[in-house]
């Protein structure tokens, strides 16, 4: 689905990502782990279109998408969530969701003025879809609440909700577990599994929570110092000495992971 081919990214003299190649298979939940500063987020942002890589290319279903802007990628079926929730804080939850789908005729001011009837019909349909997503994510109690007032965990659910409204091919999840309590994290994990199984979304996940990675992801890719170190099943990766060393430095053993 996504292939990253020899991508490098430098900021001034800092080479955050160096000659990285990896691929995310269709229908998989692929994990990306690594210690802080490994270049995960930078690589992620290259895929999501926030950065243009200094070298290499990125393919989506075989088409070159290197350097495409985030809004263009969205229309090609790439959706993402943010590590720090990026909710539309002054808009109610339901509007946060209704905003997302592409091809709304009311997004043209001319249609909004001249074809209000059609716009309202579309809006009613969107509203229904948004309500379904709200119910799926157990956000019913806060559906009319301003998104800025939600708890950290609810904001993460809302991020996932926006992804559902997009109905994408591939979802980039940026530390969906950060700042979420264990109970909600387990729910979030089963939501992701359901979306993967029932709707066929491919997921590419950056995560620090090893339990979540172990539960969701196969395969898992490990990055360290800007390079891809290894990849494979979580069980095997836990045993890999190089991974242990990357996380804990030389000398540490066994208790890792």
């Amino acid at each position: 689905m996504i292939s990253v081919e020899h991508v490098s990214m430098s900021f001034g003299g800092i080479r955050a990502v160096q000659d990285c190649s990896l691929s995310v298979a269709k229908g998989s939940i692929t994990g990306l782990i690594g210690p802080n500063g490994a270049g995960k987020s930078t690589l992620f942002n290259c895929i999501a279109g926030l950065y243009r890589p200094t070298a290499g290319r990125i393919l989506l279903d075989g088409n070159d998408i290197t350097g495409k802007k985030p809004h263009e990628l969205f229309h090609l079926g790439v959706a993402r969530t943010f590590q720090v929730a990026h909710e539309f804080s002054n808009m109610p939850v339901i509007e946060n969701l209704m905003l997302v789908p592409a091809g709304q005729s009311g997004e043209s001011l001319l249609s909004a003025c001249l074809a209000w009837g059609r716009v309202r019909e579309e809006e009613a349909k969107l509203r229904k879809r948004a309500e379904e997503v709200v119910d799926f994510l157990r956000l019913g109690a806060v559906r009319y609440e301003r998104a800025g007032n939600l708890s950290g965990g609810q904001k993460k659910l809302l991020e996932l909700g926006r992804v559902m409204m997009a109905d994408p091919k591939v979802v980039l999840l940026d530390e969906v577990g950060a700042g979420v309590n264990r109970t909600l994290l387990a729910e979030l994990a089963s939501d992701i599994e359901r979306l993967n199984r029932d709707r066929g979304y491919t997921f590419f996940v950056i995560e620090h929570d090893m339990d979540l990675i172990a539960r969701l992801c196969d395969p898992v890719i490990v990055m360290a110092a800007g390079r891809v170190l290894t990849q494979g099943r979580m069980a095997d990766i836990r045993k890999d000495d190089r991974v242990v060393e990357a996380y804990f430095g030389g000398g540490a053993r066994s208790e890792a992971a």
């Binding site: 969205f74 943010f82 539309f88 001011l109």
Partner: protein
């Protein structure tokens, strides 16, 4: 004061307050909905004012100190072309500046407004320079007093109402939803497939068009247009105070703020009029100080303005619970 005089004062208040309301609604689209920090209102005001004045003022007797007259075209044409030209200028400015982050956009717009004002001041052949343009026709001025004033007030009120309806439709539409999303979180709006640059440009251009319309209306109402009219104090500062006091993001708030602040601005003459004559040149600054003070006081009590923003009514049936 006599009743007749009081009524004329009230009509002048509503007319000019209404003109400001049109501009405050334009700014609300820029700032209240889309989060564009446009501090160059005076520039778009000037483009609109000079455009309409030059198009409609009769030839020859138009200007002192200049040798070309106006074109003497009908007033409605001036009122149509003025916002269009202001929009065109905004489009050019927006193409260059809208990629800038909000504080840089502020500096860029304020600079462009100053440039336009200095052009008006120095391009004597075109604008009459510091003497400005005189004898700009006022609609209904051939009618007897007070019917001309009443008709003009009604026309302005109608324009305010039409602008309000348009802005409400814009705000309640998915278009407005995209704007509010961009205001709240530009990065996320982009990640949700919205072409942020294109949408921001639309909001900037349309909002500026209404500022240009405000300029045109002012020129015809006052009949005289000098570069002073596009001083940032009168055009930019006052309109901003109106929107913030009324309630940024709320169209009703923009109208309310415009009328209220204009009322206080004119009423402050009662204070400044009582000051000793030596204060003459400082009076404008005293007024500005009073308005600034009012802004601070209002924001203490109503941090979101008198009428805070409310989310639009949603389409479709109530949610199944």
């Amino acid at each position: 004061m006599e009743i007749g005089g009081l009524l004329l004062y009230l009509m002048a208040l509503v007319t000019m307050g209404g003109i400001y309301a049109v501009m405050a609604l334009g700014l609300n689209l820029n700032w209240g909905m889309t989060g564009l920090f446009n501090v160059g209102i005076a520039g778009f005001f000037a483009v609109g004012a000079y455009t309409s004045a030059l198009l409609t003022t009769p030839p020859m007797l138009a200007r002192s100190g200049a040798d070309v007259g106006g074109l003497g075209l009908p007033i409605p044409l001036g009122w149509i072309v003025a916002p269009l030209l202001a929009a065109a200028v905004a489009w050019v400015v927006g193409r260059i500046c809208l990629r800038l982050r909000s504080d840089y956009l502020a500096i860029a717009t304020i600079g462009i407004a100053e440039i336009l004002r200095l052009v008006a001041l120095n391009e004597q052949k075109l604008t009459g320079g510091p003497f400005g343009i005189k004898s700009i026709p006022r609609p209904f001025e051939t009618m007897d007093r007070p019917w001309g004033e009443i008709a003009l007030m009604a026309l302005v009120a109608l324009l305010v109402f039409a602008t309000y309806l348009f802005m409400e439709r814009a705000r309640n539409s998915p278009w407005g939803r995209v704007m509010r999303a961009i205001r709240d979180n530009e990065t996320a709006a982009g990640a949700m497939g919205k072409d942020v640059e294109a949408f921001r440009l639309q909001a900037f251009v349309i909002g500026s068009a209404f500022m240009g319309l405000g300029g045109a209306l002012t020129a015809h109402y006052l009949k005289v247009l000098t570069p002073e009219a596009s001083e940032p104090l009168y055009a930019t500062f006052l309109v901003w105070v109106m929107l913030i006091v009324g309630g940024s993001g709320n169209n009703k708030g923009a109208v309310l703020g415009a009328v209220l602040i204009w009322l206080l601005w004119t009423a402050s003459e009662l204070v400044t009029g009582a000051l000793p004559t030596e204060w003459g040149v400082r009076i404008a600054y005293v007024k500005m100080f009073l308005v600034g003070l009012l802004l601070v006081v209002v924001l203490q009590v109503f941090p979101q303005g008198l009428l805070p923003e409310r989310p639009p009514k949603l389409a479709g049936e109530a949610a199944p619970r």
